[in-house]
């Protein structure tokens, strides 16, 4: 297992390098030029060349990549072309709120989804199942920005329980987390329910009943345990998504976050910031998959055997 862990982590290095090349290149292939944003109207080619030299934009691409990567490895993400502040500081300001929002939303969707999915599967085709699956349908179809607005109207404007917007204190987290978790719970519930129904029809479950084990124990200790394997895979894939995919919700609640920063800097052609944001998301996805793979291996001895 330890052997596998080391190999799996080492395997991330080439992936990281490949991802960094892609992130670096994509931006330089997009049409448009950040210098345009910095130039005063009517400036001549000398002013342009001066600014290009200042940010290293006059160097050949491989050299620019080398400089950037060397900086990244030392923790220097460069300086924003637009705001002229260190990118690391800008990322540092948004990563906290993003992690809080994404982490809470993921935790709540996992927990809520697994519980609701297990309940739905246990009461398959009876009213609790139908009720939960109705909610799931709602959760997977309601657009999150609209749900966010509804929640603001109800809980902030009418009831005044939570702040309308911002990222100050725990109270401001409640509504955005609820907005994201609603869709997340729907997804996890659906996957858990199907996986449990599938697992319950397996041969060995019949034999567990024949052994005289209490049905509740079979459901929780065996069926749910098997059903969690696909759920873990889905959740691991969502880690990266949850960090960067909350753009609309961040907009609705006027929260700072990685997603918003990415979109904003993208529209301004602020290369260093876009690169850093994408890199953070890529790292989140990679760590998510790593976590998922490790959990799979811990849960399933067949996976562990295949690793040797």
């Amino acid at each position: 297992m330890l052997d596998y862990l080391v190999r799996r982590v080492l395997l991330l290095l080439p992936v990281f390098l490949a991802v960094s090349v892609v992130i670096f290149l994509i931006l330089h292939l997009i049409p448009g030029d950040p210098i345009d944003n910095l130039l005063k109207v009517g400036s001549g080619p000398e002013a342009r060349a001066k600014i290009a030299a200042k940010y290293g934009l006059d160097q050949p691409l491989p050299v620019q990549y080398g400089i950037w990567l060397w900086g990244v490895l030392q923790g220097d993400l460069g300086t924003s072309i637009i705001t002229r502040r260190p990118v690391a500081v800008m990322i540092g300001q948004v990563i906290g709120p993003s992690l809080a929002l994404g982490g809470m939303a993921l935790a709540i969707s996992s927990l809520g989804g697994i519980v609701l999915g297990a309940v739905a599967a246990s009461f398959r085709d009876r009213w609790p199942d139908q009720l939960i699956m109705g909610g799931v349908l709602l959760g997977s179809t309601l657009p999150s920005f609209w749900l966010g607005l509804l929640l603001i109207l109800g809980f902030s404007v009418e009831l005044g329980w939570f702040p309308v917007s911002g990222a100050r204190g725990w109270a401001s987290l409640v509504l955005p987390v609820a907005t994201i978790a609603f869709g997340g719970i729907a997804l996890v519930t659906r996957v858990t329910r199907v996986a449990m129904i599938e697992a319950a029809s397996r041969d060995f479950v019949l034999l567990l009943h024949a052994k005289g084990l209490p049905p509740r124990r079979i459901r929780l200790a065996h069926v749910l345990r098997h059903a969690l394997m696909p759920v873990v895979t889905i959740l691991a894939l969502r880690i990266g998504w949850v960090l960067g995919g909350a753009v609309t919700v961040e907009y609705v609640f006027a929260r700072p976050g990685l997603g918003s920063l990415l979109i904003k800097s993208l529209s301004q052609h602020d290369y260093p910031v876009v690169q850093a944001c994408l890199l953070m998301l890529a790292i989140a996805v990679m760590l998510g998959t790593l976590l998922g793979d490790i959990t799979q291996a811990l849960m399933d001895p067949r996976v562990r055997s295949a690793l040797r």
Binding site: D203, H209, L213
Partner: protein, 310 residues
């Protein structure tokens, strides 16, 4: 009688795939339950275990254990403790993420109330009795690390762990290599003789039946065709279906190409024919067979085969 089943039937929704099954079994006896696939053998096993709920079925008729008629809750209490099941496919019968020793030990802990250490000792003891080499190492393995024959022994050990009095074995050898099949059948036979267990052996292998069973119940399309002592059945089958099954066993000295099957197939539940359900495939069938179900008894046939003289 250890197990006596009367007028047993199974209803699943609107259809009734099984009806009028009756047989009895005493300690130290092996009852063979034979028939082609789809004749209702496995359903009979599930019904006797009180496990029809899992497939959405409903039991009709009575199942009595040790002379006491049991409802579904009663059967649930007996499951794993007094009545154990061995299923068809050892490849899928074990929980793939649990060590096999633990899967055996849990039965002892649950039904005999033993301590974990005692349950472990009992597990290793059972495994050794079932001729599993290096029992301790095997007990700590996961199912995917073991061969089919080994897994089937684990399943048998699991069945024995609660000290049951009755074992229902649903085609315990079908999924195994021929060489391993013989071992498993031998092990089951020994268990019955040594421990005085009752064994319902479900199989479609008439060779196995001839080897180990005391009595045989032949099932066809959800009904009993014939119930006989094993020697009588093989020397003088009365139901044409039993005779046809016996004719399907390859024998020494048979001319190549002379082995015949039974033409046609078992009808599915929705297509059970009226009258005797075997009549469309029966060489002796006439107009009566097509309309009137045969009388129940040792053999359910309007035109049984004659007993050969001498």
């Amino acid at each position: 009688m250890l197990l006596s089943v009367e007028n047993l039937g199974v209803k699943i929704g609107a259809v009734q795939p099984l009806e009028g099954i009756g047989f009895a079994l005493d300690r130290g006896e092996i009852l063979g339950l034979v028939g082609e696939s789809g004749s209702g053998k496995s359903l009979t096993a599930l019904a006797c275990m009180g496990l029809l709920g899992l497939i959405g079925g409903q039991r009709l008729g009575t199942v009595a254990f040790d002379g006491v008629v049991q409802d579904e809750a009663g059967l649930a209490r007996l499951r794993g403790r007094k009545i154990a099941l061995i299923t068809q496919n050892p490849m899928t019968a074990l929980d793939p993420v649990q060590r096999v020793g633990e899967q055996i030990a849990v039965v002892a802990r649950l039904h005999l109330g033993t301590t974990p250490a005692a349950a472990r000792a009992r597990t290793l003891d059972l495994m050794t009795q079932l001729r599993i080499p290096e029992a301790a190492a095997v007990a700590d393995s996961y199912p995917h690390q073991l061969s089919g024959g080994m897994k089937q022994r684990i399943v048998i050990a699991m069945a024995l762990a609660g000290e049951p009095e009755l074992i229902i074995a649903d085609e315990p050898t079908t999924a195994l290599d021929v060489t391993v099949q013989a071992q498993i059948v031998q092990i089951l036979g020994q268990l019955v003789r040594q421990r005085g267990l009752g064994l319902v052996l479900i199989t479609h292998d008439m060779g196995v039946v001839a080897q180990v069973c005391d009595r045989v119940a032949v099932l066809y399309a959800g009904r009993l065709a014939e119930t006989r002592e094993v020697g009588d059945l093989f020397s003088a089958p009365r139901h044409p279906y039993s005779a046809a099954l016996i004719a399907c066993i390859p024998r020494e000295g048979m001319a190549p190409g002379s082995l015949t099957g039974i033409p046609g197939a078992v009808p599915s539940v929705a297509l059970y024919p009226p009258g005797c359900r075997f009549h469309p495939r029966c060489p002796r069938a006439d107009a009566l067979c097509a309309t009137t179900p045969p009388p129940q008894g040792a053999f359910a046939c309007h035109h049984p085969l004659e007993v050969p003289h001498g």
